[in-house]
């Protein structure tokens, strides 16, 4: 018996830090791709919410970044890596309501401190690597139950 390798989709996208006019573009593109490959509605919903939060964190807190997407029949992997200040206390950052966002950013409706906890809720698997002064990498996995 031969096992056909799963068809795998791999794509990367750049995120411009501090550019609010284009914020959310990458996660919209990714959502569209997931719809194009016919991923289950529920998986797309969770992936979109978490990817959007991660993209916004790069826009708000970092200088620049990228999102790598890989998807196959079984799971979607989203890796968001940035060049930025890094996260000093990860446990603290994960707490709902904790935010270091500036007043200006809050006025735009961000900075409720809910992003990371939303991501943890939506993803089946979440891991964060951060080096203070260098940057942050967030890896998330979403199973498609397929």
């Amino acid at each position: 018996m031969t096992i056909e390798p799963l068809e795998q989709l791999v794509q990367s996208f750049e995120i411009a830090g501090q550019d609010f006019s284009r914020a959310g573009e990458v996660s919209s593109k990714i959502r569209r791709i997931l719809q194009q490959i016919g991923a289950p509605v529920e998986t797309i919903r969770r992936t979109s919410v978490a990817t959007y939060e991660a993209e916004m964190n790069v826009v708000i807190h970092a200088q620049s970044g990228r999102i790598d997407l890989s998807a196959d029949r079984c799971a979607i992997q989203i890796t968001v890596s940035d060049v930025g200040p890094g996260i000093v206390d990860l446990d603290l950052a994960m707490q709902p309501g904790y935010s270091t966002a500036s007043e200006e950013v809050r006025e735009m409706g961000f900075g409720a401190g809910m992003g990371l906890s939303n991501m943890a809720r939506c993803a089946d698997d979440l891991s964060i690597d951060s080096v203070v002064g260098q940057g942050t990498t967030v890896k998330m996995q979403f199973r498609t139950n397929g």
Partner: protein, 466 residues
């Protein structure tokens, strides 16, 4: 009504009038139109009957099919169900009572206001919003174009649609037994006709989404009744006779304009969004989880709400002002309390009796493995296209053409730029080949090359850069 595989559409093309100008393909919110062989073609699975193409076609080649007043003959008893937007179509002096009486004078045996259905739906939506733990934000179920938009473009949001039927459906469910009783006929002998502001509602009447069967027997456009109705009202006024009774409240009538439903429901954090492209923007925000602080989204495909429907007559801004004035009217004094009425009725008449199922149009193939291969091919195809979204290929954007190509519904050479490039490459190759000869014939080379030059007339001027 059978609707297993087909989707009924009121929006149609009048082929003789279409000049293939590509105006409509650019405005369609679901990219449901392609121009092929010089004529627009509406793709059934994608069309949501919003009427945007009817609005923008400079040649009036897009139209809506609907019923005419002739159909009243098919039933023993007929009841008109006027959309709230109808009240906004006439002069300020004309009261809702006169409009209803006018419909009766036109030949209907009775009227039942959809605005009254809206009064009931307002109560029901308020109750839904008070239930603990419901999904946020909820999206209004009133606009059928929005419901179809969600099905095809926002399948993730299907669960957000408020589980309460539309004002039209409730009005119809109440009107039929009432008329049967009043006129002493069986319910099937009653013909219910919606007086519609839009093709979306015409389609919803012919083929409802979320219900097994339609509660309404036909839909007649507002613009179709406008003329005869105006005359009937004038005659009646001259005769000075009594008018029909209005049972809706001002808030129910207010549903005709954007913001009216929210005003009637008046609970929680509500937003009102009108115009299909604005609705799309808001839905994208909901998909990102950005609107979880909002309780209710009133979403209407037409700018200004139903007064902006493509089958209306009056300028929507003027109609909107009238509706606002009318919405300040108190309800009739003898009206039974709406809350009590809702209590007294069987809950099932307010509900969808079938799930509203997603019909995503975005997937590139049914099989995920194949779809992944197509997404990859899509990227490569896109790189060969100029990114000008010129529309000459008959698709609205280069992206849409690329999607059609990987679905095997179009060819790369449908793009004039790709075609031109291919022709150029071919010409160059021809010239090049023409100078090559088998070694045995090499002495003739010069002659043959100049012969090829003459025949091909390949021009030397550089191609304009795109």
């Amino acid at each position: 009504m059978e609707h297993e595989n087909s989707v009924f559409h009121a929006v149609r093309l009048i082929e003789e009038k279409c000049r293939g100008c590509v105006n409509c393909i650019k405005h369609c919110p679901t990219e449901a139109i392609r121009v092929r062989r010089g004529k627009a073609e509406i793709l059934d699975v994608r069309c949501i009957d919003c009427g945007e193409c009817i609005r923008v076609c400079p040649n009036h080649a897009k139209t809506a099919i609907a019923d005419s007043l002739e159909r009243l003959r098919d039933y023993r008893v007929t009841v008109a169900l006027p959309a709230p937007a109808l009240y906004g179509q006439f002069d300020d002096q004309i009261k809702p009572e006169q409009v209803l009486q006018g419909l009766i004078d036109l030949g209907f045996d009775d009227v039942f206001e959809v605005a009254f259905g809206a009064d009931l739906v307002s109560v029901l939506v308020r109750r839904e919003l008070q239930k603990p733990g419901v999904i946020r934000p909820m999206i209004s179920s009133a606009c059928p174009a929005v419901i179809r938009l969600i099905q095809v473009r926002f399948p993730n949001l299907v669960d957000h649609i408020v589980p309460v039927c539309s004002p039209l459906r409730i009005a119809a469910r109440l009107a039929r037994p009432e008329a049967a009783r009043r006129f002493g006929v069986s319910p099937e002998e009653v013909g219910l006709f919606f007086i519609s502001p839009c093709p979306g509602k015409v389609s919803a009447v012919a083929e409802p989404v979320g219900y097994r069967t339609s509660a309404v027997d036909g839909a007649i456009p507002i613009c179709e009744v406008y003329g005869p109705l105006s005359r009937a009202m004038r005659d009646r006024k001259a005769a000075g006779q009594p008018q029909a009774r209005v049972r809706s409240s001002g808030s129910g009538i207010g549903w005709a304009r954007a913001g009216g439903e929210n005003q009637a429901v008046a609970l929680g954090r509500q937003i009102s969004v009108d115009g299909v492209h604005n609705v799309i923007d808001i839905f994208e925000d909901i998909e990102r989880g950005k609107l979880s602080q909002v309780d209710y989204v009133e979403a209407l495909a037409c700018t200004g709400g139903c007064v902006g429907g493509v089958l209306t007559v009056e300028n929507p801004f003027i109609a909107r002002r009238r509706i606002r004035m009318l919405s300040e009217r108190p309800g009739p004094e003898d009206a039974p309390g709406l809350e009590e009425l809702v209590e007294a009725l069987d809950d099932s008449i307010f509900r969808h009796d079938e799930p509203i199922s997603p019909r995503s149009i975005t997937a590139l193939a049914d099989d995920m493995e194949e779809a992944i291969r197509r997404v990859e091919r899509l990227e490569r195809v896109l790189e060969t296209l100029p990114g000008l979204d010129c529309g000459s290929c008959g698709a609205p954007t280069c992206q849409a053409l690329a999607e059609d190509i990987v679905r095997n519904e179009a060819r790369e050479t449908d793009c004039v730029f790709v075609l031109r490039k291919r022709v150029q490459d071919l010409a160059e190759e021809l010239v090049e080949l023409s100078s090559k000869l088998p070694p045995a014939m090499n002495h003739q080379q010069v002659d043959i090359a100049s012969w090829a030059d003459g025949v091909l007339r390949v021009e030397e001027e550089p191609a304009p850069r795109s």
